[in-house]
Symmetry: C2
Amino acid sequence: MRLLLIGFGVVGQSLAKLLLSRSADLYRLYGVNPRVVACVDSHGSAVSSTGLDLEKLLEAKRSLGTVGAYNRSARMHELIELIERADAEIVIELTPTNLDTGEPGTSNIVASMKSGKHVITVNKGPLALAFPSLIELANYNDVKLRFSGTVGGGTPILEFAKRSLKGDDILSFRGILNGTTNYILSKMEQGFDFNAAFSDARLNGYAEASSLLDIDGFDAAAKLVIMANWIMDMKVTIKDVCISGISDVELSDVRRASKLGKAIKLIGKCEDGRLDVKPMELSYTDPICVNGTLNAVTFRSQHSGEHTIIGQGAGGVPTASAVLRDLIDIRNALLL
Amino acid sequence: MRLLLIGFGVVGQSLAKLLLSRSADLYRLYGVNPRVVACVDSHGSAVSSTGLDLEKLLEAKRSLGTVGAYNRSARMHELIELIERADAEIVIELTPTNLDTGEPGTSNIVASMKSGKHVITVNKGPLALAFPSLIELANYNDVKLRFSGTVGGGTPILEFAKRSLKGDDILSFRGILNGTTNYILSKMEQGFDFNAAFSDARLNGYAEASSLLDIDGFDAAAKLVIMANWIMDMKVTIKDVCISGISDVELSDVRRASKLGKAIKLIGKCEDGRLDVKPMELSYTDPICVNGTLNAVTFRSQHSGEHTIIGQGAGGVPTASAVLRDLIDIRNALLL
């Protein structure tokens, strides 16, 4: 399978390392033999029809800051043209999430699918803003669109709901979908006020450039939209979510709840056709009442009861392993 | 698909009701059209090559205590002969678990597979005592053996580990695998001593005939064996598990742990090739530290971190829905 990688940040580099360390495994266990025939980052591109040397690609990024340094004689490529012309079956779209415009992810994904390429993305922007039309475009062009890494990082939340509960109907679900806000709220439980907890999250690398997306609940809302479309067959976008973030949560609220055996958590909820993201009180004994950066979702099913899945919701290697899962999934789907 | 049902207790009757209420669904969504052509309980049998009327079958059981009352003119069938001769593709084996002899489950399963029938079972006995040889027999006869309902009731623990984590390696796992003991230990947390907690469990219907299997850790060990074989590719039986139950757990132990922010739980653990079932202290913040009759398992994977799944580990309808899941799974496997 020939891959075109767009974006070579933490997830992209983790993926390259996983492909290097696991190539024998992937072929033996799943019949997957991936070759990266092109890789693009914000400063340049590297192309090789026989497959890029991933060690050399990582070294170029490390030493000179861009994959463009892989082969200095290469000409500059216009990205959309590269996508359309690349001799690749699968485009792996790893550009950063933008929940206002969805770009550059949306243009990349659309160009890929229109030129007959399957897409794996970890970018929540395009899906949060236009899930229904992207799926329609994928179907129209008879290609697969996969996005395991957008929800739960390496924890297979989407896969669990879609596959493991087959034969049952999911009636509703709710969960902690954002690790940064959960970290901040967990710190507030320990007595930090909001600003101190936020600083601590920054210090530990959990809140970065996009921290407003976290705090204001937009990241959780984007994930909720992806889940509602994929799991519940709803046709919704982020505009359909009623969102409130955690910036108004006071230390006194957290303390009052704590006295009643409860914690305040930022919960994304899909119930009776309604989508909400808001701070809610959860009993300490509720299985989704987890701390630190953990994510947790409870699915309520019609026949088999409630099922909860908990895991780290982020991280380069876990998210890259979700991309691998999608790769295997697409390969299996093509064999059917 | 023609089914032979062996055992018509809580799970069997729940399955009959699910088949009645969901037949249109099952056909529309999964292409499955199940007909029960024979049903056997401890007092009699009912057979119909065109498919039993499940309403009438449930009524016979309800009013006269046995499916033998379905058709009074039917002759008595010798069970093994019935299995061998039945014009059924799938045998659903729902007899009670016996961890000493594995019977009557083992004989039923062996006869089914030898006569070319796929088997779905919720009976832990045969699998705990002879998993490796039963899988070998299934492969030799080119039939499927499925057992989702043996671990986690309706919670798809086996499916999750086997499917949702594909592309990753599970290194170890540990969890609360028995709801009865978890209920008792949760009650002890609330200040009941062991005997009072046990009586309370009985009163609430959580500890019945097989309660010694629960208390002494054998039920958890049986599930651990099934998971170790299926998920970790180990070739083990219940003899390979180092087992200690909860009857020696004192209220004072529970109180001492509680002061340190910990709970005592009966944990099944598979790590470094070792299988253990024993009471262990867990931090209250550990995701598997759940209360009541809940089950919970954490899988540690090589690339995507730790994943926890939590759900009700038992119940007629949930377990019957696990049987349905297996039915769909076998149908899909046959189509490949």
